[in-house]
Each structure stands twice: as C-alpha cells, then as structure tokens.
Symmetry: C2
Subunit: 463 residues, 2 copies
Amino acid sequence: MMADITPVLERADANLPKSLDRLFDLVRIKSISTDPAFKAECRKAAEWLVSELTALGFTASVRDTPGHPMVVAHHAAAKADAPHVLFYGHYDVQPVDPLNLWDAPPFEPAIKEVEPGRKIITGRGTADDKGQLMTFVEAVRAYKEIHDALPCRITMLFEGEEESGSPSLKPFLEANAAELRADYALVCDTGMWDRETPAISAGLRGLVGEEIIIKAADRDLHSGYFGGAAANPIHILADILADLRDETGRVTLENFYEGVEETPAQIKAAWDTLGQTAEKFLGEIGLSIPSGEKGRSVLELTWARPTAEVNGITGGYTGEGFKTVIAAQASAKVSFRLVGNQDPAKIRETFRAYVRSKVPTDCSVEFHAHGGSPAIHLPYDSALLNTAKVALSDEWPKPAVVIGMGGSIPIVGDFQRMLGIESLLVGFGLSDDRIHSPNEKYELMSFHKGIRSWIRILDALAA
Amino acid sequence: MMADITPVLERADANLPKSLDRLFDLVRIKSISTDPAFKAECRKAAEWLVSELTALGFTASVRDTPGHPMVVAHHAAAKADAPHVLFYGHYDVQPVDPLNLWDAPPFEPAIKEVEPGRKIITGRGTADDKGQLMTFVEAVRAYKEIHDALPCRITMLFEGEEESGSPSLKPFLEANAAELRADYALVCDTGMWDRETPAISAGLRGLVGEEIIIKAADRDLHSGYFGGAAANPIHILADILADLRDETGRVTLENFYEGVEETPAQIKAAWDTLGQTAEKFLGEIGLSIPSGEKGRSVLELTWARPTAEVNGITGGYTGEGFKTVIAAQASAKVSFRLVGNQDPAKIRETFRAYVRSKVPTDCSVEFHAHGGSPAIHLPYDSALLNTAKVALSDEWPKPAVVIGMGGSIPIVGDFQRMLGIESLLVGFGLSDDRIHSPNEKYELMSFHKGIRSWIRILDALAA
C-alpha cells in the first residue's frame, strides 16, 4: 500500500471533466471491427490509445495482427516487489444499425441529464468497452499525477477484435506470452449488479457463432411459375431454426447438454439473495415471459444455461412493397451460448451435421464459422476476489456481490490456459446500458466511481 | 375479315428494327411500381405510351389514380359491325435487386445472339410485360400503315401497378366500366408452352400477399445478457413459417383447401400429352426434387394446387461479420397461390388468426395486406379460344395448346366480374425468361412472331 489514497481519489474527481473529454475523443473514432469498411478507424483508435499511454509514461505500442492491431503498454511499479497486473479492455465497438433508432448520432458522444442528479454518457462504445477501459486509464493518471509512480507494475492490453470473434487474440498471446504474463489479469468488460451494488463476475458463458447459407435454385424464381414445385430456401431455413429448440425451450442438437451441470445449491442460494425476478429483468425491456427452458429462474437461464439464438436472418425480397419471388438463397447467423464443459468445436460440428441433415439433396448449404470459446468458471472465494470485494464495497453504497454472467469474454479463458493467470472481472456497466443496441449509454456515475474503484483496487492489491 | 393480311405481316417484318427501338425506349424507363422511389418513372412510362398511341391515331390519355396512372386509348374499326376488343398489358416492372447478379444494367436493353440464329432482348421488363404489350401495339401499327384502318374496334388499357397488387384497378374499372366494356378482352401477360408451341392459358392461380412483423423486446438486445430468457422474434417467425406446411407439403391453415377441387381427368389427360416432367421443369433452374405436395406432377403443383411461400424474410444483424444480438423485431412477406374457389379474404383472415395464435402474449404482430385475388378458370373450348387457336397455329411451327398457369393476373377476374367480358390469355414468354429475376430476357422470336400473331388474331376475330 502506498501513502493515503485520499489525494489520488480527489485528483480523479478534479480530473473528471478532462477525463470525459478524453473518453469523448475515443468514442468519436468509429472503430467497428466487424465491418471491413472501418478498418482505418480501428487503427486510429489503437494509435490514439498508444499516444495517451505514452504521455502517461508507459512504453506503449501499436502491435499489428492479421486483423485489427493490439495495443500493449508497460509501466513499472514504485516498489520492485509490487504485484504485476495485466489490464485488458477492447477499443472496438459493435455496428450501429439500425441507425434510424438512435436519438443522436452514435459517434457524437454527449452528456445527458436523464433525471435530477443522474447523468449519462451517450454514444456507441461508451459502455462496451471504451468507457470501461478508460476508467482504468484515468485511475492510473490520477496516481501518476499525485505520486509520479504506480502501486503495481502494470501491463495494458487493448484488443480491437472483441466484437468480431477475436481471431488474432490466441496467436498474439502465444507469440507474446512472456511479455504479457503477470500475477493476475484485471478485465473490465462486465457490469454492476445494480446502480448501487458493484459486482465481480465469476462465471462467463462460452460462445459458438455460425453463419449458414442455404442455396436452392440457381436464380430467384417467379413464385407463380415455380411455386409449389421448386424448393424455397427460406422454408428450409425456417424448418432448421424452428426445430433447433423444442417446446420446452431445450436445444435439440444431439449431445448438446453434454458437460452442462446443474448449478450448485450454494451458488443458487447466493443468487436468490439478489432478489432478481422475471418481471424486473424482462420488464426493463418490455417483456414479461421467460422464453427459454421452462422452470428455471432468469438468472439461471442467462448465467448457467446454454442457448441457441438466431442473431440475424435474410432472404428473398425485403424492400418496400411486395415481390412474389422464390429466393435462390437464404441465410442466418446463429450463436450458441455455452456453459460448464460444453465443447465449442463439438457443438459447431453437431450443428453443421444437423443442418446438413435438413437440406434437400438438390439444394446445398454453406457454413461460415464466427468465433468459438468455452465457458469460464472462476473461484467464488479467491484472495484476489476477496481483496477486490472489500475495495469495491468501500467505494459504493452497497457491498459488492459475486455474480454469474451471460455474455462471453473468451480472453479470460485464454489468460487461464495460455498465460496461466487468474482474472478478476470487474466492470461498471448496467443492464440498461443498451450495449449492442441503438442509444448505448454509460452512466456518468459508472465512469466516475469506476475510476475511483480502480484506484482502490490497485491500492489494495499493492498491500 | 379485311383484305389479305400478307402485306400487313410483311410490314410488321419490315418494321421490326424500328419496333425494337421503340421497345428499348420503353424498357429504359425504370417503372418499378412497388418502390415509391420510382413514382416519376412510372408516370413517364404511361406518358410515353400515350404519345405513341396518339401518334397511331388513338384517342389516348394518362388517367390518374391514387397510385400509378392508367393508360386508356380508343380507336374505331374499319367496319361498324366489327367486334370491340379490350387489350390489356402493364407497363410497370419488378424491382431489380440483387443488382450484382445482372450481366448488364437492367434498364439498358440490348440484343444478344445466344446461339446461331437465336437472339434475345435483355433487360428488366422485356418479357414482363413491356415486350409483350408492345407486340400488340406494333401489330396495330402495321395494320394502320397498310390499311390506314383497324379490323376491330380497339380499346387499350395499360396498368402501372400489376407488380404491386393493382390497388387502383378495381376502383378504376368500376368508375370507367361503360368506357372499357368490350366484346372480349385480350390479355398479353402469359407464356408459350415451349419455343415452338404457342399457348392459350385457361387457368390462373389467385394470390394473397401478406407481410407480418413480429415485435418482441422494445430494443435490440445483447444475446449474452438476455439470451435464454428474452423472446427472440426470429425464432417466433421461424416457428410460424415452419408450421405453415406439414411434412407432406400440404398447407396447414384451417380450411385452407376449402374450394380446392381435383383437376378433371380430361384436363389432366390433356396436360399429360404435353410431356412435362420434374426433371425437365426443375432441371432448368438447377433443381430436381418437387418440393410441394407429394404425389402430384409439377404441372398439377404449379397450375392446379394452392401454395404458401415465403417471398422474403429479414431480422437482426444481416451485415458483414457477426453481431450477437437478439432483434427487437423480425418480418416476413408471405404469399398464397389460390385455385378453384378458395376465398382470398377468408384465407388472409385464417392466416392472421394462425399467426396471432403463435405469438407469445408479451410480444405483438403487425400485418400488412399486399393484394388478394381469387383463381380464374376460363372455358377450355369457347369460340374465342378456338378462333385464337387456329390463328396462332398458322403462325408457329406447332399447333397452339391450352394450358393452366401458376401465376396470377387478377384483372382477368375483374374483367369477368366487373365488365362481364371473357378474356383471351395469349402471350409469348418462355419459362426461362427469368421474369422477376436478374437477367430477364425476351426472345426476339417472341417479339417478332408475337406481333405477327396479333395481326392474325385480330384478323380472325374480325371475320
């Protein structure tokens, strides 16, 4: 532990307006990683981060990959025996369509007072993940400005492909394992339990993304001439997707639930204390009926159960008006969320075999893989986790809780497997941040107290 | 019968190059009726036709409707007791997407020699229906140039909304019944049996077009946060579409087959003589297995059986790459082809009730009607039909045949019901004309001999 952290926290408070200016600069960069049209913008975001970190005294560099570049930065600690932490975030963002549903241009960040005393930061990436990664950068800044030193040795790793399956990540970690290995990783890409209760995520679902393209006739057909006799790829696709889940909400793929275990009673009990309900969870998004497996709580459904979801579908005429056509092809993007020991590779193969079995022999199917990662389960009571719990509880109105998480952060598993280091998943997002949706926002409180939280956590880790 | 028609036919031959120039002028007009962006182009096509017909001595005018305008033109006959024919065609065309599949710009018509002695006219609308309607206009021109008179009293009616459900047609016929009523209608929007065999269509399937929009959450969702608990509108839509047909290919809607009768044995027998097979019919489009009701011939499936087809579907992320989103809504355009006495209004209501029954109570559905018309059955042996049969057989290598038709031409029913006149369905399209698809074409032979066919038919009718 370094000297009293009060001045550091005060400096973070004083810096807030400038911290926001810097976040806005980063949000203005249209770093949509999944769309090749924004390749240059992704590099621009990486370069912006490198110049910021260099100015803070880091040895920082843009590191090329076959895809979008990584950012790696190093800074020594005040004391030689201080722990070495690897901080991870991602500078890429999701696409912004449908653009017409945004209240303001997605890449023109702004502060909005939504109710007395409650301000939000609006714009694509404010919550996922630019606002979050900047909480750590600004925490480090406050330390440097007050002590001209850092309590821990810090390596930062910022990725530019998190929203597009992280194709370059494993090879990069492999090639740079020695440089990146630390005592533990701090990953800031998760959320709070609620606006007063900070959370540490101990479970993450895995993900398998797959695109399928069904091809029937060699051209679009007139549904009058050919309707009733010619195969319709949209019907083939609809059959495939409909039969993917049974009426109880279970996924029908063979052996899909291999490796899926029931949630231990004590963890379920801990979740029950959180007082979540379907009404609260779904009410927030205008729904009320849990759609997945019957007889399970929404926390179980989203934290501890696997899913099959269609993320996109298209085929035939989708423009204004009507066109009586039978399409030559139709396609869908399907993703599976994985838990326990479900094997992404196995599930991809099972899915492909299932699809092939449903395609008539005079039609064909094409597959495109989009990322795959197993689920992650972190210990519920490690020293690292307990230290962070205390630090977070000091900052926020309510004590920190340990939760599961429905999303996927593949890198946590890669850190475990490839660098052999444990991760701490702390983030300050809220479930109504609309990440991946129009009108994404990040609470000003999340940003401000997030910065202060990292100051406390770094201090506690140094102790 | 007027004097020998040989000079008229010869004039049509001599006119061919100029006739093609005129057709090209019309094809260059982008009259896509279903897309509001092309409203002005539709009017332009109507005005072009009016000026052509006026030049031919017709009393022609553009007639406004709430949608795209109609063209009406009148010309007296040489003899007062000559029959009065109402000629119908449509100047609007289908959208051109996917544009990248066209070998040449769709609105830049050209002549292409595809094999020695076989030329085609390429471009959107060349076959459906601009090339066809111009066969009649050019037939009339040849008559006028030779005899300065016409063998029949002729009224022409050109519609601009045939490809978008003809919303203005019924009201227009009602309001102008007295002006449009004739002895019979000549409708040129159908096809030949094959390139040597002209055909008269005696059956037309009806059509019900319906767009459904399924709405779930009030925003696009992150499939990690909400996947497994939140309703996915694409899955709801897939279930609806999959259950619309059973494993035998039958449509599952309640009472859907009410009014559908088995094809009379003698008509089936006549069809059998045409020697059509699934291999030939589907082979042409790269398929081989009939997809509809089991145990029926492709002619039965496309001429005499009703269908349910999805013509378009869209929802979620359909761009480059992958986006793990649960969409707020998903939509599909569905059409039903009707036969016998199936009631379009009833079927639309049954379909809507079926869809509503499949939508969870916390989600909603929106419907948009796109056209509805019952099936048409014309007598297989009227005087009109037999006269035309002889005239067509004189022009083409093989005698004319009477066939069914899978498509829908609602106006034929409207002529029957609202004007009380019988229609003759003669056209010169071929099944490989790719109408409604990229690279639409019309055979030069169809255009040339089509003009000559109308000269013969008008002459025979006048007799």
